[in-house]
Symmetry: C2
Subunit: 240 residues, 2 copies
């Protein structure tokens, strides 16, 4: 999307820069945080399509161009919004083992993505991670320290979990936006009259409709992933 000519130096300064001391000119009327919050509110309501420099400026009672004194461009604004919307990761649940912590962590991340549907689109493509994003990552790796997994594997686990949380949040918002209740309904109408072309899918949908177990894709995938990790950790412990 707006992954194009992002000046990484200015973006780095924006995400990681420290608030500088007293300046010379007139006091700024805005804050980076206020701008980010305003943008988040708009994107939450109308998506990234509805996010316009003009609208953000209006909601802050300034001109559109005033925003460019704070933010290099729209792409950087979105990055800042993402960083703000994610926020700091919740503190790890005390007394929980690695599995409990990771389970918790993934659900919390899922929740953040759920609350800000635009965040999914904002995280496609290469991007510079902000402090909060690294802090989220730190939690995963910290939870896995001492499990016998290598550093690379710990990072792979993080990638895997982030992906699942993001993916499921997307599915959840997708089904929430359509009037029909479950995701299967859309598929079912699409399959009508084409059952012989997609026989296994048709059978699965009928079976799923009969079960009426609701949307458990998050739980299901998370359980499978954590089971797989647990098996690996157990195997490592056994060979040591």
């Amino acid at each position: 999307m707006e992954t194009g000519g992002t000046d990484n130096r200015r973006l780095y300064e924006l995400l990681w820069g420290t608030p500088s001391g007293p300046r010379r000119g007139p006091r700024p009327t805005l804050t980076l945080d206020a701008i980010a919050r305003s943008g988040i509110a708009i994107a939450d309501a109308d998506g990234l399509d509805g996010l316009t420099m003009q609208r953000v400026a209006e909601s802050l009672d300034v001109t559109k161009m005033a925003l460019y004194r704070y933010v290099p461009g729209k792409a950087e604004l979105v990055a800042l919004m993402l960083e703000t919307a994610m926020g700091e990761p919740p503190p790890p649940r005390t007394g929980a083992d690695w599995r409990g912590q990771l389970d918790d962590w993934a659900r919390q991340l899922f929740d953040r993505f759920r609350r800000h549907p635009w965040a999914n689109a904002a995280t496609v493509g290469p991007r510079l991670p902000g402090p909060n994003e690294l802090a989220w990552l730190e939690r995963v790796v910290a939870a896995l320290t001492g499990t016998g997994l290598t550093g690379g594997e710990q990072l792979d686990v993080a990638v895997l979990l982030v992906g699942h949380a993001r993916n499921l949040a997307q599915h959840a918002t997708a089904t929430a936006e359509t009037p029909r209740q479950p995701r299967e309904a859309g598929f079912a109408t699409l399959l009508r009259g084409r059952e012989e072309r997609f026989p296994a899918l048709d059978a699965a949908l009928r079976s799923a409709a009969a079960e009426a177990a609701g949307d458990q894709a998050l739980d299901f995938g998370l359980a499978r992933i954590l089971d797989g990790i647990e098996a690996l950790i157990a195997a490592r412990a056994a060979t040591r």
Copy 2:
């Protein structure tokens, strides 16, 4: 992105409609397939940002507005491109059990996403699946038929695997676009001087750098996921 005012009826006709018989007016100079291919070539080279109705039209030697005789709008063009770029799923490997088939399937899907980096951005948000997309799904469910998983669980597996393939393809293209080789390099420079703030992450990165095991996130996650599924199938078989 362009998930906005997509007319679902016209999109359905575009993706699922059959080529109609002889028409009245002059013969069309273009084909849906040619348009899609042209768009794919442009998006492969310059991403979705570089994809312009104007550019597609130029590459086909027609006016921009001529495209609107074939495609309702840009959003629908992207959907069509996605359907064309994914193509039909490869035939299932004969003689492979469900695990082999799913492993194969996920890697093939990963490969398609790798070849068309814009496909990641094109698959965010709710969308109407096309015939090819359903055919890919059908393969997963077919591979899992008879394993004892319920229909809903089979679909959940599909969601999980699609998510992993997409997620890893994104990571792969992200690291491919940056000049530095591994994804860890960017993190490492970012962590420089902040080691005490992200201690576990720092340790993991150092460990990963020492291992020098390259990028195995796809294999790692896939193995974990399939291990988890295998455990579930085994448990189901045991209780039956």
